[in-house]
Symmetry: C2
Subunit: 244 residues, 2 copies
């Protein structure tokens, strides 16, 4: 058996997230069907991150175990040929048989994108949250700095989470502005359900001046989802990369 690691990009607009579910089309399902078409048998596709409905990816990771001797290059082309253009495998690599894409992940990087202008360029509309009122990125960065490190992120986690522990480590958060676009880049060891979208929604309030940066520290310490702010929309979020 060969274990193959797939790096997958997708436009999440038309999908109910990564993970398979009944009565909704998910990315995992489309990839699984394409893999079946190529290898002519049921093969489990094991993903690294359960991205929410509408969330995008450049660097989702998944593995398949196959017996075929097809070259990795041919596998990319063959699976892609069975998928719509909004999902693309762009890298592929052989990994040891005991490699698990979720458990072996050391760091994940997500970006939350906000267009802060009087209008949203049509070409960016699917990949950014639009905010007309001016946001102060210096304040947002100051607020974000309180989240760096190992913390209990219960305040920044959907109450629908199924995780036993809500302790996670954020290695870095950068809030940068390029032209009219603000990007909140977050790198951590793992993330809770809706965690980055709740962080984004809270930092937006800091950017507006409705919260001061130190409020983020207070919210974190309360361990109460009610203290943080709204979950920012899914379409602004992209899973950038997973490191092992």
């Amino acid at each position: 058996m060969r274990k193959i690691k797939l790096i997958i990009a997708y436009d999440g607009t038309n999908y109910s997230g990564w993970q398979r579910q009944n009565n909704a089309i998910t990315v995992e399902e489309v990839v699984t069907k394409a893999v079946k078409s190529v290898f002519q048998k049921e093969i489990e596709v094991v993903g690294a991150s359960r991205t929410d409905a509408g969330v995008h990816a450049y660097g989702q990771v998944a593995t398949i175990s196959i017996e075929s001797e097809l070259s990795t290059e041919k596998i990319i082309g063959a699976i892609n040929a069975y998928m719509p253009e909004d999902i693309r495998i762009h890298e592929i690599e052989e990994v040891p048989e005991d490699f698990h894409p979720r458990f072996a992940a050391k760091m994940k990087t997500y970006e939350y994108t906000i267009v802060n202008n009087t209008y949203l360029m049509p070409q960016k509309r699917l990949y950014a949250h639009f905010m007309r009122r001016k946001l102060d990125v210096v304040l947002m960065q100051a607020g974000a700095n309180h989240l760096i490190g190992e913390h209990d992120f219960k305040s920044f986690c959907s109450i629908k989470t199924s995780s036993n522990s809500t302790v996670r480590t954020i290695y870095d958060i950068n809030v940068k502005k390029v032209d009219d676009t603000i990007i909140i880049q977050v790198t951590g060891n793992a993330f809770l359900y809706n965690m980055i979208r709740i962080i984004a929604g809270t930092l937006i309030e800091v950017g507006y001046g409705r919260l001061v940066p130190d409020d983020v520290k207070f919210i974190l310490e309360q361990c109460d989802r009610q203290k943080a702010r709204k979950t920012a929309p899914a379409k602004g979020l992209t899973l950038m990369k997973i490191e092992y």
Copy 2:
């Protein structure tokens, strides 16, 4: 009466081009309807460029003549509110009453975008033509250089053109590559029907080595559409700006 110049961006994916036609939704029609909703009367929207079906824009220009005393800022917001997210007015300016967006245009810049890689990132799929085989941008630029200047571009014009003269001036063509993306940037005084897409289709053949750069000069001199190569797909083309 006030004459107002609108600068309009759109994702052309779902439109049959700019110009109004029967049995098809066009950008002009959507803008005209939104203008009517704002000012509560029929107002003619005069566009600068008749972009083809599927072609995108950052800097389409159109004018309207109005009697309203609404500020330009409020006009942008009001018209945008009546349009879908894939069309956005992003600048607005008062102009003299005799200003005509098409006749007064001095220079137009278009970009033709090609992703040249083994895969097309989903997030770029609507705005780029995908070519798997490696293109040589140095050869493409050498071929493009023959087109700079005032020439009869009959070879690079759809036979369906309605123009009397096929003489146009290209001020500059730049072929540049950034990561996996090749952009052919063309600035000229005006363009014929399908002209940039036929230029792109021909330069692609040069990039593949099926034509040599000097063949572009020969094709130009023949004044025969049959001599040039295929019209490249609409989705790779974007109207960037119009200068007056």
